[in-house]
Amino acid sequence: MKMAVIDPAENEVNKNIWIAVGTWRWVANDDNCGICRMAFDGCCPECKLPGDDCPLVWGECSHCFHIHCIVKWLNSQQVHQLCPMCRQDWKFKE
C-alpha cells in the first residue's frame, strides 16, 4: 500500500496541503501589566484591541509592560526614568 505523503514526486499539483493553526501570546514574566493591571493577553485601558496595536515592550531589567503604559509612565517622570517595578534605570531592551 502506498500513501502519497511519502511519494517523492515533486509535482506541485501532487503536493499535500497542510493548513495548520497556531496561537500566539506574549512572552512575559507576569500575567498582568504592572502599570495598568490589565492582562497582557488583553490590551492597555486606552486600547480596544489586543495584538499589534497594543504591543508589549521589555526593559533591560527584564520587566515588561504595555508600550502605552510605560511610555506614559516615563513621560510623567521628571528626573530619572526608572522601571516602576524595580526602580532601576529604564532602558528598552533591543
Binding site: M1, K2, M3, A4, V5, I6, D7, P8, A9, E10, N14, K15, N16, I17, W18, I19, A20, V21, G22, T23, W24, R25, W26, V27, D41, G42, C43, K48, L49, P50, G51, D52, P55, L56, W58, C64
Partner: protein
C-alpha cells in the same frame, strides 16, 4: 312710472340736492302707484309661489325676505312755493265700499272650492278669481275671519277621515296603505288650498307669529285628529315595526310605503317620540336574542359574516327609509348587541382557530368589525398577543425534549413570524398597536426558555453561512439574515448567542468552510448595528487575524523558496491572537518527523519577525488535503489533522490496533475514537475495522482499505471537525456563565463603590437595571456572598439587610 316722469322737470333742481334721499322719492312713487302695484305684486308672488310649492312637503316657514308686506306710508309732499306748476293728488273723496254681503258671498265661493278640493272634484271658479277674492278679503280686513273659517272647514274635513282607521277588521298592511293614501291626499289638498290662500298666508299669517301657516295648520290638524289618536298612532307604528321586522327576516316589503309613512311621522314631528323609541327597543331585543342564539349555533367566521351582513342591511334601511337622525343610535345598537356583548366569547371561540389556519379574509373581517366597537381592537390585540405567546411557547419550550424539534426550532419561529407579519399587514392594517403586541409577545416566548433559543439561532446562522449551503442565492441569504436579526433582537441573553456564533465562526474560518466572505461581513455589520461595536470587536479581530495570516504566509513562502524544506507538503498557518478567538485547550500530539521539521521552520520564521511572542500549535483545528493512491486510482482526501495522523500511520504498516494508534499519535482517547469512527464507520471508509461495529473499542484492529472506491475524486471526510461535540457545547455554555459571573461581580462593586451603603433589595434592583442577561436573584445572592468573603464589601453591623462598601 309715468307720474315720476311727469314730475321730472319740477324736481329737476331738487333732485340734485336730494340725491342722497333717494329712498324718500321712492316712497312717493310707491304711494302713487300703490294701487297698481298691488296687482303687480300679485303676479310676482305667483312666481314665488311655485317655488315654495316645491318645498311644500317640508312645510318650511315662508321665506323671510318675502315682499308680501306693504307699507302704506303717508304721502310726502315736495311742494315748494315757486314758479313751477303744481300737480296735486288728492285722496278719494269717498272711501270705496264693498257690498254688504260681500264677505258671505266670497267665502261661499271659497268654501265651495275648498270642499271641491277635499272631495277631489273640479273647482268651479277659476283659480285666479279665487286668489283675487282672497286678496280682496285680506285688503278689507277680513283676514282673521277668513283664516278661522278656513281652519274650521279643514278641521271638519280631517276629522271626518278618522272613522276609516278605527275599524277593527283591517290588517296592518291595509291599514298602512289607507293611512298612507290619506296622508298623501291630505298633503296634496293642503298644497292646493295654500296656493289659493297664499295671500292670506303671506300677509295675515306672517304678521302674527302666534298663528300657524296654512301648511303647518294642516299638519297640526292631521296630527291632532288622525295620527294623534292613540289607536291610530299605535296601529301605524306597530304596522311599521311589523313591516320592518318582516324585512329583517328576509322578506321583500314595500319600501316606498315605509319611506312615505316615516316621512309623515317626521313631518308631523312625532318620529322620535312615537316611532324611534319603539323601533330601537324592537331592534335591541331582536338583535340581543339573535346575537345570543347565533353565537351558540354558528362558528365564529360564519357569525362575523352574519354581523357584517346585518350592519350592511341596517345601513341600507337608513339609506332607504329611516330618518338619518336614527343612524347613530341604530348602528350603535346593532354593534352593541351583535358584537360588543360577545367580544370575549368570539375571541375565545374563534381567534385561535382563525390565526392558526391563517384565514386572512375572516381575520380582516374580524378586525374591521371589532374596530367599530369600543375596546374591540384592544381586546383583539390582547387575544392576539396571547395566541402568539401560547403558540410560540410550544415551539420554543420543547416539553418532550425532542432533539429534532430543537433543531427545527429557529426555522419554525421564522415561519411563524412570517405568518404573523403577513396577518398584521394584510388583516390588521399594519396597526402599530398590533405590531408592538407582536414584538412583545415574541420577546416573551423566545425568552421563556433560557439560553437555548439564543444558541439555536447562532447555530442556524452557522448552517446558513457554511459552504455547501447552495439552497439560497446571495439576496435570499441576505433577506434570511435580516429575518434572523429580528429574532436576535428579541433575545435577552445575547452573550450566549455571541459565544456560539464565535465558536462556529472560528470553525468556518479555520476549516475554510465559510460560504462567502461577503455574507460573513454582512452578518457582522448587522450585529454591529444592533449591539454596537463592543459586541463585534472580537469577531472583527478574528477576520483581521485571517488577513494578517495571509500576509505572513506570503512572506514565509518567499523566505523558504530557496531552502529545500519539504518536498511534498505545502504548509499554510493561521496565526490567531488569543483574545479574539474561543479558548482552545492545547493538545500535544505526535507528528511525523517531516511535519515537525516544517513546523519548526515556520516557528523560527515567525518568531524572527515578531519578537517577544511565543507560538502554540492547535492540532485540533488543523486540516489537510492528502493525495492517496488506491488500487482504484488517486484520490484527494480532505481530512482533519487527526485523521491525517491516523492515515499516515498506515504508510508504515498494514494493521494497527486502537491502542497502537493511540500510542503512536498521542491523540486524546475520546478524540481518537471519534476520528477512527469517522474513517472506518462513516460513509467513506478509508479504514476497515475488525470486528465491525459502530463504536470503536480498545481491542479493535484497523486495516487500510486499498480497494476504496468513490465516484468523486475529491472526498471530504472532515465534517467531523465542524460538528459540535457535547463537551464543546458544555464548555461554551459554561464559559458564558463564567463571564456572566464576572460581569455580576463587576456590577456589584461598581454600584457599591458609588453608593457606599445600600440595602439588599435596592442593590438587587440596581443590578437588574445594569445587567443585560437574565439572572436569578439566588445567583446574585451567591455573588454578593462571594464578594463579602473576598472583602470587597461587608454586612452592616447594625442592619443585617444592608451592605457597606469596603475600600
Amino acid at each position: 312710472m309715468p307720474l315720476s316722469n311727469a314730475n321730472k322737470p319740477v324736481l329737476h333742481e331738487q333732485q340734485r340736492k336730494d340725491e342722497e334721499k333717494l329712498p324718500k322719492k321712492r316712497k312717493l312713487t310707491d304711494t302713487v302707484s300703490s294701487v297698481n302695484k298691488r296687482i303687480k305684486s300679485g303676479t310676482e308672488e305667483s312666481t314665488a309661489m311655485t317655488e315654495s310649492q316645491k318645498r311644500a312637503n317640508f312645510s318650511a316657514l315662508p321665506s323671510p325676505g318675502s315682499n308680501g308686506v306693504h307699507r302704506h306710508s303717508s304721502p310726502l309732499s315736495n311742494n315748494k312755493p315757486g314758479t313751477t306748476k303744481k300737480l296735486v293728488i288728492k285722496n278719494l273723496k269717498e272711501k270705496p265700499k264693498v257690498p254688504e254681503n260681500y264677505q258671505q258671498e266670497t267665502w261661499g265661493k271659497l268654501q265651495e272650492a275648498v270642499d271641491a278640493i277635499h272631495t277631489s272634484h273640479a273647482i268651479k271658479s277659476s283659480l285666479e278669481e279665487l286668489y283675487q277674492a282672497v286678496g280682496n278679503m285680506c285688503s278689507y280686513k277680513m283676514s282673521s275671519t277668513l283664516y278661522e273659517q278656513l281652519k274650521q272647514t279643514c278641521e271638519n274635513h280631517v276629522k271626518s277621515n278618522i272613522e276609516q282607521f278605527l275599524a277593527d277588521n283591517i290588517g296592518y298592511e291595509e291599514f298602512l296603505k289607507k293611512i298612507d293614501t290619506c296622508w298623501q291626499s291630505h298633503c296634496r289638498q293642503m298644497i292646493m288650498i295654500r296656493s289659493i290662500f297664499l295671500f292670506l298666508d303671506r300677509t295675515y299669517v306672517l304678521q302674527n307669529s302666534a298663528i300657524l301657516s296654512i301648511w303647518d295648520m294642516g299638519l297640526d290638524l292631521f296630527r291632532t285628529h288622525i295620527v294623534g289618536h292613540h289607536i291610530v298612532q299605535n296601529r301605524t307604528v306597530d304596522g311599521l315595526l311589523q313591516l320592518i321586522d318582516r324585512e329583517r327576516t328576509g322578506e321583500a316589503v314595500d319600501r316606498s310605503r315605509l319611506k312615505s309613512l316615516l316621512r309623515m311621522l317626521s313631518d308631523l314631528q312625532i318620529y322620535q317620540e312615537a316611532f324611534e323609541k319603539k323601533f330601537l327597543e324592537a331592534t335591541d331585543s331582536l338583535y340581543r336574542s339573535e346575537g345570543q342564539r347565533l353565537m351558540e349555533e354558528r362558528d365564529v367566521p360564519e357569525y362575523l359574516l352574519h354581523v357584517e351582513m346585518r350592519l350592511e342591511e341596517e345601513n341600507e334601511r337608513l339609506l332607504h327609509y329611516l330618518d338619518q337622525s336614527t343612524k347613530k343610535l341604530l348602528v350603535n345598537l346593532v354593534e352593541k348587541q351583535l358584537l360588543e356583548q360577545h367580544i370575549s366569547q368570539i375571541l375565545l371561540k374563534g381567534l385561535d382557530q382563525l390565526l392558526s389556519e391563517n384565514r386572512t379574509t375572516d381575520l380582516c373581517r374580524m378586525y374591521t368589525l371589532f374596530s367599530r366597537v369600543k375596546n374591540g381592537q384592544k381586546e383583539l390585540c390582547a387575544s392576539f398577543a396571547t395566541y402568539i405567546k401560547g403558540t410560540g411557547r410550544i415551539i420554543v419550550l420543547n416539553v418532550n425534549n425532542d432533539p429534532d424539534k430543537d433543531k427545527d426550532m429557529v426555522q419554525a419561529i421564522l415561519e411563524f413570524k412570517d405568518k404573523i407579519d403577513n396577518i398584521i399587514s394584510t388583516c390588521f392594517g399594519k396597526n402599530e398597536q398590533f405590531v408592538n403586541a407582536m414584538r412583545e409577545s415574541f420577546e416573551n416566548f423566545i425568552n421563556a426558555r433560557q439560553n437555548k433559543p439564543a444558541e439555536y439561532i447562532a447555530k442556524y446562522v452557522d448552517s446558513k453561512l457554511r459552504a455547501g449551503n447552495k439552497e439560497a442565492t446571495e439576496e435570499e441569504l441576505e433577506r434570511l439574515l435580516d429575518k434572523i436579526m429580528v429574532l436576535f433582537r428579541f433575545i435577552h441573553g445575547k452573550d450566549v448567542f455571541e459565544a456560539f456564533y464565535k465558536k462556529d465562526l472560528a470553525k468556518r474560518l479555520l476549516v475554510g468552510k465559510s460560504a462567502s466572505v461577503d455574507a460573513e461581513k454582512s452578518m457582522l455589520s448587522k450585529l454591529k448595528q444592533e449591539c454596537g461595536s463592543g459586541f463585534t470587536v472580537k469577531l472583527e479581530g478574528m477576520f483581521k487575524d485571517m488577513e494578517l495570516s495571509k500576509d505572513i504566509m506570503l512572506a514565509f513562502k518567499q523566505s523558504v523558496q530557496n531552502e529545500k524544506t519539504s518536498k511534498n507538503i505545502e504548509l499554510t498557518v493561521n496565526i490567531l491572537t488569543m483574545g479574539y478567538w474561543p479558548t482552545y485547550t492545547p493538545m500535544e500530539v505526535h507528528l511525523p518527523g517531516e511535519m515537525v521539521k516544517l513546523q519548526e521552520v515556520f516557528k523560527k520564521f515567525y518568531l524572527g519577525k515578531h519578537s517577544g511572542r511565543k507560538l502554540q500549535w492547535q492540532p485540533t483545528l488543523g486540516h489537510c488535503v492528502l493525495k492517496a493512491d488506491f488500487s482504484g486510482g488517486m484520490k484527494e482526501l480532505q481530512v482533519s489533522l487527526f485523521q491525517t495522523l491516523c492515515l499516515l500511520l498506515f504508510n508504515e504498516g498494514d494493521v494497527f490496533s486502537f491502542e497502537e494508534i493511540k500510542q503512536a499519535t498521542a491523540i486524546e482517547d475520546s478524540e481518537l475514537r471519534r476520528t477512527l469512527q469517522s474513517l472506518a464507520c462513516g460513509k467513506a471508509r478509508l479504514l476497515l475495522k475488525a470486528p465491525k461495529g459502530k463504536d470503536v473499542e480498545n481491542e479493535d484492529k484497523f486495516k487500510f482499505n486499498d480497494d476504496f472506491k468513490h465516484k468523486l475524486y475529491r472526498i471530504k471526510i472532515n465534517q467531523i471537525q465542524m460538528k459540535e461535540t457535547q463537551e464543546e457545547n458544555v464548555s461554551t455554555t459554561e464559559r458564558v456563565f463564567q463571564d456572566r459571573q464576572y460581569q455580576v461581580d463587576a456590577a456589584i462593586v461598581r454600584i457599591m463603590k458609588t453608593r457606599k451603603t445600600l440595602t439588599h433589595n435596592l442593590l438587587i434592583s440596581e443590578l437588574y437595571n445594569q445587567l443585560k442577561f437574565p439572572v436569578k436573584p439566588a445567583d446574585l445572592k451567591k455573588r454578593i456572598e462571594s464578594l463579602i468573603d473576598r472583602d470587597y464589601m461587608e454586612r452592616d453591623k447594625d442592619n443585617p439587610n444592608s451592605y457597606n462598601y469596603v475600600a
